[in-house]
Amino acid sequence: MSRIRAVTAALFVCCCLPATAGAAQTVTLHTSFSPDRLGASTTIGFGFQITNPNGSLPAPLTSLSLHLPAGIDYVTTTLGLAICQPANLLARGLGGCSPNSRLGYGSAFVEVPFGQGSGHEIPEIQALMGPPHNGNIVVLFYANGQEPVYAQLVFQGELVSGSNALGGDLNAAIPLIPSVPGGAPVSIVSVESTIGPSHLTYYKHVHGKKVAFHPKGVSVPLSCPREGFTFSATFGFSDGTSAVANSVVPCPPRRR
C-alpha cells in the first residue's frame, strides 16, 4: 500500500493562461448558501464537475482559483479559531488539529488512468484553518483516500482580497495524485465541499468546563445585486489548458 504524502509549498497566485486557452476540459460550477438569507451567517457550498468533451479522461487538475462575490464577509466569522499545522495534519490526520480549526468538509470523485468508467470516491475532504501567509487567511484541504486510491495529502489555498470591497479569491495549487506508486496521476472529475459552520462543532472553556458551540459562519451580504451573487472559478490543468466556470446564487426571496 502506498500512501501519498504531499504538501504544496508554493501558493498559486493567479492563472496565467488566458481563460480561452485550450478547450480540452469543460467545467460546471455550482454554489449555494445555507441558509440563503441576506446578512445571515451561512455555509457556502461549492462543487464542480470536470468533463472532457471527447469522452476521454480529463487532464489532472493542478490549480483552482475561486472568486467570491463582493460583500461576502469572512472577516467577522468565528470559523477557524485555531490554527492547524500542515505537518500535524499529515502525521496524525484530523486528530492532529483542533476541532476549532475546521472550516468545512466534502468529498471528491477521481478516475484512474486505467480502467476508466468507474469513478472512485475520496470520501473525506476536510477544510481547515492553516497558518496565515502574508497576512492572508490560508485554507488547508486534507484529502484522505483509501482503496483503491490511497491518498493522504494536504494542499492549501490562500484567500486573497482583491480590492477594498470584501470578497476575494481563494487560490489553490493542487498536487498531482499518483494512481499507483510512480504511476500516472488520477483525474479529479468532481468535488463537493462546504465552507461554513454546518455540521461543525467547536469547543470553548467556560468556568473550567468544555462547552460545545457552533461557530458563526461567513455572512451573506446585506444586499443582493440584481443578477444575484456570482461566483466564478478558474481551473488549471496539467496539460496546460484552463477553463472558467461561473455560478450564481439567486437573490433570496424577500422576507415578509
Binding site: 468565528t78 479559531l81 477594498n164
Partner: protein, 154 residues
C-alpha cells in the same frame, strides 16, 4: 505604565488631564503650547456590531485615564479604520485611525497609525498625527486590547 511627557513646556506634572485644571482661558493657552507624549492602553469589550462595524467600550490607562470607545470598521479583509474616543476628566479626545488587519486563529491583530483630530473641554485644541495604533481582537468574545502612542499637542 504611566508615561507623561510635557515635551515643550518642560513641566512634568504626571497625568496630562491634571495640567488642564479649570477651564480658564489662560490655562487653555498654556496647554496649547505643549506636546504630550501619549502612551495609552485600553481594554474593551464589544457592546454591539452591525455587519462589519464593531463597537467596543472599555477603559484607557496610561498618560490619561478614562472611558474609551472604539468603532472599528472592517473595510477590507486586511484593513480596518477606527474612530477612537477617550473621555478623561474635563474633556474628550477623538482620533481616527487606519490599520492593517490580520486574522491568526483565535485572534486578529491590527497595526497602523492614528490622528487626533479634535477634543473638547481641557483637550479642545488637541491634535496630533502619525500616532502608533495597534491592538488585538479576541475573535470569539469580541474583546479588544489596544495601544496608542505618539505625540499630541494640546
Amino acid at each position: 505604565m504611566l508615561v507623561a511627557g510635557m515635551m515643550s513646556a518642560g513641566v512634568l506634572t504626571g497625568v496630562a488631564g491634571l495640567v488642564v485644571g479649570t477651564s480658564s482661558a489662560v490655562g487653555a493657552r498654556a496647554i496649547a503650547a505643549r506636546t504630550i507624549s501619549l502612551n495609552e492602553s485600553g481594554h474593551l469589550r464589544r457592546t454591539s456590531s452591525s455587519g462589519l462595524k464593531l463597537n467596543e467600550q472599555g477603559s484607557a490607562s496610561g498618560t490619561i485615564y478614562g472611558k474609551i470607545y472604539i468603532h472599528l470598521d472592517v473595510v477590507s479583509p486586511n484593513r480596518v479604520t477606527a474612530e477612537v474616543n477617550i473621555y478623561p476628566n474635563g474633556g474628550s479626545l477623538t482620533g481616527f485611525g487606519s490599520a492593517s488587519y490580520r486574522v491568526n486563529g483565535g485572534t486578529a491583530s491590527f497595526s497602523g497609525t492614528m490622528s487626533i483630530n479634535r477634543g473638547t473641554g481641557s483637550y479642545a485644541h488637541a491634535h496630533g498625527s502619525g500616532l502608533s495604533f495597534s491592538g488585538t481582537i479576541q475573535r470569539l468574545s469580541g474583546s479588544v486590547s489596544v495601544h496608542l502612542s505618539g505625540r499630541m499637542s494640546t
